[in-house]
């Protein structure tokens, strides 16, 4: 069941712009199509040198969405009019000799829990369809516009961000470009798919328990979940106030760094970040790096092998154990259940039947939790934070799998992890939850497996040291250990 609003209007606009596109030199149109499947850095270079216009790049993105997204279902709304207007404005300003901001002309999209002026903020739900359109953009969307980026649309997600698979009963599943019969991960599944399939080079998502890192892993791209509080959540539909983060998806570590630096500055009067540009050193010689043991080795062999591959490339075999990581995961579960339920209490009273049938019982259960469970979880959180901080006295970077396995089939209710059969959906975040629980910054890097699905590895740093995690990611990327090539369309028996 797929519903993409205003398809006919979008197609009409596309037809009109195709006529306009016919006026674009074929060489420029071809270059735009090629650049779109590259990096932001490459696009920025071509745009600033005048080899391609923002309009041509936007046209190419719209065409690619039209060609591929009927299968992948990553977009719930394509903002064609806004995108072409923003692109035309960039081209006009550039022609006038104006010095343009760093992301001028770069296409991007956002998870549909970010406010976009004139759009209803769906947050993956049917209930939110009844809300009025947002009166203004979320802060991060305003920031992207201020940096010259061009908004292509809003992206599919798990209802109210309560999921790891983007199997959305209202809008259909987001499909993995590597194998469309498989999940894109969640809850920011549309974000992962749109970047992996080369429709846009950048997307903004959210991560409460793994919703940036899981789709990054499943779709084989880079994802950044920064330190808790590093990016503004103003205008982002909330899920769990104690755990919500905004995050970024891209096909290169430098693209993550560039966009994060800009968005962090927009989020705070005084920056706490040491990432100030897209230029990343690849000198990791002084970084002390270790693999997380214990709980984090309980994934499938492919997850362990991916971490080992990264560790070998970084020249380390050191292990470190995060104490009580399984308990940390349980505590994150309790906080999520309780705060998530409180967020939706009024809707549970009046619109219970309109929730996704997989979301509703989880929210109801959370609404019944005794306070002692929640408070116990928050107290444990402070203990766990303190213990992990001690580890960072001896190491700078900790490696762990992003997911216990690669992408599972859409609709698959159970999976086997390390020889144990367990429900799929609640357990995909088993390695991400303990980390976001204490707000540590993480870059998920993609390990491509020959003949198989990709899988991600978490590069985990101390609070406010996104620079170290990004530097490690850049080193791995420059060494060709990790990569995020655009995936060409694969038909599947869906």
């Amino acid at each position: 069941m797929t519903s993409i609003p205003a398809v006919s209007a979008q197609q009409q606009m596309l037809a009109e712009t195709s006529a306009a596109k016919a006026g674009l030199p074929q060489r420029e149109a071809s270059l735009a199509e090629k650049l779109l499947t590259g990096t932001v850095t490459g696009m920025v270079s071509a745009l600033s040198e005048g080899r391609v216009s923002a309009t041509a790049l936007t046209q190419a993105a719209l065409q690619r969405i039209d060609d591929h997204d009927g299968l992948y279902n990553s977009f719930t709304e394509v903002t064609t009019v806004r995108a072409l207007a923003e692109a035309a404005d960039i081209d006009r300003r550039r022609a006038g000799g104006e010095t343009l901001p760093p992301l001028a002309g770069v296409p991007y999209a956002v998870k549909n829990l970010f406010d976009v002026a004139g759009l209803v903020t769906l947050a993956g739900s049917r209930i939110n369809r009844d809300l009025p359109p947002a009166s203004e953009d979320a802060l991060l969307v305003r920031a992207m516009q201020a940096q010259g980026a061009v908004l292509l649309g809003a992206l599919n997600m798990d209802e109210y961000a309560y999921g790891f698979t983007t199997e959305n009963s209202h809008y259909g599943p987001a499909r993995n470009p590597h194998d469309p019969s498989r999940s894109a991960g969640g809850s920011s599944g549309g974000c992962g798919t749109a970047v992996a399939a080369g429709m846009v080079p950048l997307t903004l998502g959210s991560d409460t328990n793994g919703s940036v890192r899981v789709p990054s892993s499943m779709c084989g791209i880079f994802g950044l979940k920064p330190t808790y509080g590093a990016l503004s959540l103003q205008g982002m539909f909330p899920f769990v106030h104690s755990l919500d983060h905004a995050g970024i998806f891209a096909r290169s570590s430098h693209d993550l760094a560039l966009s994060y630096a800009l968005l962090h500055r927009a989020s705070h009067d005084q920056t706490r970040s040491r990432v100030d540009s897209g230029t990343l050193s690849t000198d990791i010689s002084r970084l002390r790096i270790a693999m997380a043991g214990g709980h984090f080795t309980q994934g499938n062999p492919e997850a362990n092998a991916a971490v080992q591959r990264i560790a070998t490339a970084l020249g380390t075999q050191q292990m470190v154990e995060l104490p009580q990581a399984a308990r940390a995961r349980s505590a994150a579960y309790l906080i999520t259940a309780s705060e998530g339920a409180q967020q939706h209490l009024q809707r549970l009273r009046t619109r219970a039947a309109d929730f996704d049938p997989m979301t509703r019982p989880r929210l109801l259960a959370g609404s019944m939790m005794p306070a002692a469970w929640y408070i116990g979880a928050q107290r444990f959180r402070r203990w766990f934070q303190s213990e992990v901080a001690k580890l960072f006295q001896d190491v700078d970077i900790i490696l762990a799998p992003s997911t216990p396995c690669s992408a599972q089939k859409i609709g698959q209710d159970s999976m086997t992890i390390n020889g144990v059969e367990m429900p799929t959906r609640p357990n995909i975040g088993m390695f991400t939850q303990p980390i976001s629980f204490i707000g540590l910054p993480v870059v998920s890097v993609p390990v491509q497996q020959a003949g198989g699905m990709p899988i991600g590895v978490q590069i985990i740093a101390p609070p406010w040291r996104e620079d170290m995690a990004l530097r490690v990611a850049a080193y791995l990327e420059s060494s060709a250990v990790v990569a995020a090539p655009v995936v060409t369309r694969v038909e599947a028996a869906c």
């Binding site: 308990r327 579960y333 009273r349 109801l364 609404s367 444990f380 402070r382």
Partner: protein, 61 residues
């Protein structure tokens, strides 16, 4: 380990504390998820934290 109820009357009563009316069709999955939360609670609450830890939730990265 916390004993989470599965009987419908108790689940209805708990939901009523929040002014929520449950549908009978939700009961099986609700009981399942409530049970899972109970298991997580047992996991967390069985860990001996020192009493001097401030019970008020406060978190900074």
């Amino acid at each position: 380990m916390p004993l989470t109820p599965t009987d419908h009357d108790t689940l209805h009563a708990l939901a009523a504390l929040n002014d929520i009316t449950l549908a009978d069709a939700d009961m099986p999955l609700l009981a399942l998820h409530f049970g899972l939360l109970g298991q997580h609670a047992a996991n967390v609450l069985s860990f001996p934290l020192h009493e001097e830890l401030d019970a008020a939730p406060e978190f900074r990265p």
